[in-house]
């Protein structure tokens, strides 16, 4: 095993890691706001991938051009989910909240299979394709673009939350709903905004993934599973923790698959998660 292969594994792990990070950031944002885990997050991603696929298949629109449209679509989906499902169960027991989002996931997956069959689909000849060779290290161009897109998306999210007034209002709502409400922040609209942004994050990731990954109704499951682990590993509600955990997971997946056994790569991630959580029950950056 040469040095190049290991470096290549590290870099492709990093590239995937940023995609995981953006998916997890959306999840984490929603959780931080209202302590609800969106178990339909993977299905949101699947919907975003399908919207990119159909825009390409029907109108020849490349996913990179379709990105703003798909992101908006997903934001609308997040908004609809908030007002249709989440708002009525904000005060329900945690179990009812878990079940409601699981039910939504089952529904969306079945809907996708019903409308578009369980076939695996791919977008052929996207705008960016092929691979580059940097000193003996081969990297797929779509992966690089996806990763860069996710980094930009994450940076935008971070700046929005820390630098704008609306972002600060979001943070205030996450910290103390009652106090924020007394300060004149429309907390209900903040929740809706949180769902829009959370869904938009996973929407961006989904569109970028669709340039090099299969699109099928169950695609969200594996990504969502890693995103839950990333969110719990980073600490529920911590967006920065989600970034770090996402990158860590990407690295571990790629290196573990290369050095030990590809069929066990998910197991390494799970083991790391369990080990961290047993020592630090609130995750790496979690507030308890």
């Amino acid at each position: 095993m040469t040095k190049e292969i290991i470096i290549q594994a590290i870099i492709s792990g990093l590239l995937m890691g940023f995609v995981y990070a953006l998916i997890a950031a959306g999840l984490s944002l929603i959780f931080g706001l209202m302590e609800i885990v969106n178990f339909a997050h993977g299905e949101f991603m699947m919907m975003s991938m399908y919207s990119a696929f159909w825009l390409w298949a029907l109108f020849g629109l490349d996913p990179l051009y379709a990105l703003p449209l798909c992101t908006m679509l997903l934001a609308l989906m997040g908004l609809a989910t908030h007002y249709g499902i989440i708002r009525p169960i904000l005060r329900a027991p945690m179990l009812a909240q878990i079940c409601a989002t699981f039910g939504l996931a089952v529904f969306l997956r079945a809907l996708a299979q019903f409308l578009w069959t369980p076939d695996f689909r791919t977008i052929q000849h996207p705008l960016v394709e092929g691979r580059v060779d940097i000193m003996g290290i081969y990297l797929g161009l779509p992966q690089i673009v996806a990763s860069a897109g996710c980094i930009v998306g994450f940076a935008a999210l971070y700046l929005f939350i820390t630098r704008t007034e609306t972002g600060l209002a979001l943070q205030a709502t996450a910290q103390d709903r009652e106090a924020a409400s007394l300060m004149g922040i429309p907390t209900d609209r903040m929740y809706a905004l949180g769902w829009m942004i959370g869904a938009a994050c996973v929407g961006v990731a989904g569109v970028l993934l669709s340039t090099f990954y299969f699109v099928f109704p169950e695609v969200g499951l594996q990504f969502a599973l890693l995103a839950y682990v990333a969110v719990a590993l980073g600490g529920f509600g911590s967006i920065f923790g989600a970034l770090l955990a996402g990158v860590l997971i990407g690295l571990l997946e790629s290196l573990g698959g290369l050095l030990i056994d590809p069929s066990f790569k998910v197991l390494f991630i799970f083991t790391l998660y369990l080990a961290v959580v047993f020592m630090r029950p609130q995750g790496l950056f979690g507030r308890f």
Binding site: E35, I85, F114, A232, F278
Partner: protein
């Protein structure tokens, strides 16, 4: 539990006391009418296989019993003790694999294998429970979900138990009751599943009135307060986990003997963990009859929709199913049992106001 369950200040105090009263178990002695109804129900269940004597009619009832058994075991940990597990399928799989492996390799009677499976499941519950039960709310849920997925991956690669192809149980014609295999008719399976379900329901009914049951509910409502009252919170959480795992393993052995083929894809799927949870939530968690009602509604519904709507490869049945769950969570978070409770409470309130006016 997490802060999201604490009723807000906006709720009137009356509503709070009402909720507290609702959460109280019914300790009143069963009335003659309830006893008679129960007896009649049991009689109907006992004569059912002969009244409707088709394999399909038996199969549906067996599935109801099996899922009710699983949902009830999950209910012990999640409903009564408040620890929401998303990886309960681990114990189901352990039960199926223990008896299945012993039977396929050494021809050990599955009844003995079931006891072995129950023991292993209970030990595993301690091993898994001690570190995970310290975690709160969603952290526990995600940790159990991850453990469930990990165990599935391990079983998929584990050559000792057949790896991904699993175990095919040999078909044996003699001594059906010793070998827990009935090739001629499903009726013995029907009665065994019913007996298992009755057993777990009796255990839960006993639990509801026992000291441990009160400890469990105290831990669910206020772990800190329970601990300050001298309840060993971690010990009782582990006990709840063990009980729950043991009954789940029983269901696993039954499944292995009923289907006679087990592999990691069918006995360790995440979907089964979720299904068990959904059944319990649909019926009403933390109640004796909730899981049974949930299974009695969901299983026939999914069979019927699969037959009438799912035949052409469509997934209309799953869509209905998902939508139904969402609707129940929105409109009846306390489950279908909540419908009855609601009526009873309203009746009580009416009576109370009448008395107040007089």
């Amino acid at each position: 539990m997490s802060s999201s369950t604490v009723p807000s200040a906006m709720n009137s105090e009356g509503a709070q006391t009402l909720q507290a009263a609702l959460a109280e178990p019914l300790r009143a002695r069963l009335s003659l009418r309830t006893k008679l109804a129960g007896l009649l129900g049991l009689l109907a269940l006992l004569t059912y296989p002969f009244a409707l004597n088709t394999p399909f009619a038996h199969h549906v009832m067996i599935l109801i019993f099996l899922y009710a058994l699983m949902a009830q075991s999950w209910n012990i940990l999640a409903g009564y003790c408040g620890q929401i597990s998303l990886g309960h399928v681990v114990f189901f799989g352990i039960g199926a694999y223990s008896s299945g492996y012993l039977f396929a390799t050494y021809h050990v009677s599955p009844w003995l294998g079931m006891l072995v499976g129950i023991t292993i499941a209970a030990v595993m519950a301690v091993v898994i429970g001690i570190p995970t039960l310290r975690l709160r709310g969603h952290y526990f849920a995600i940790a159990t979900l991850v453990i469930g997925e990990s165990v599935q991956i391990v079983f998929q690669r584990w050559e000792f138990v057949g790896a991904a192809s699993g175990i095919w149980l040999p078909i044996v014609r003699e001594h059906p009751y010793v070998n827990f295999q009935f090739n001629e008719s499903k009726i013995p399976y029907y009665y065994i599943a019913l007996a298992f379900l009755v057993l777990v329901c009796l255990a839960v009914a006993y639990l509801e009135r026992s000291k441990a049951g009160f400890y469990f509910r105290a831990i669910r409502e206020e772990p800190e307060a329970a601990s300050s009252l001298g309840i060993n919170v971690s010990l009782y959480k582990v006990i709840a986990f063990m009980m729950s795992a043991a009954f789940m393993a029983m269901a696993g052995t039954f499944y292995a003997q009923y289907v006679l083929v087990i592999d990691p894809e069918t006995v360790f799927p995440l979907a089964l963990s979720i299904l068990v949870l959904l059944i319990a939530v649909m019926g009403g968690v933390g109640t004796l009859w909730g899981p049974v009602i949930g299974a009695a509604v969901l299983v026939p519904l999914s069979e019927a929709t699969r037959i009438y709507l799912g035949g052409t490869g469509g997934t209309v049945d799953l869509m209905l199913y998902g939508a139904l769950i969402v609707l129940i969570c929105i409109f009846r978070p306390s489950g279908l049992l909540g419908l009855f409770k609601h009526r009873r409470v309203r009746a009580l309130l009416r009576e109370g106001s009448k008395r107040g006016n007089a």
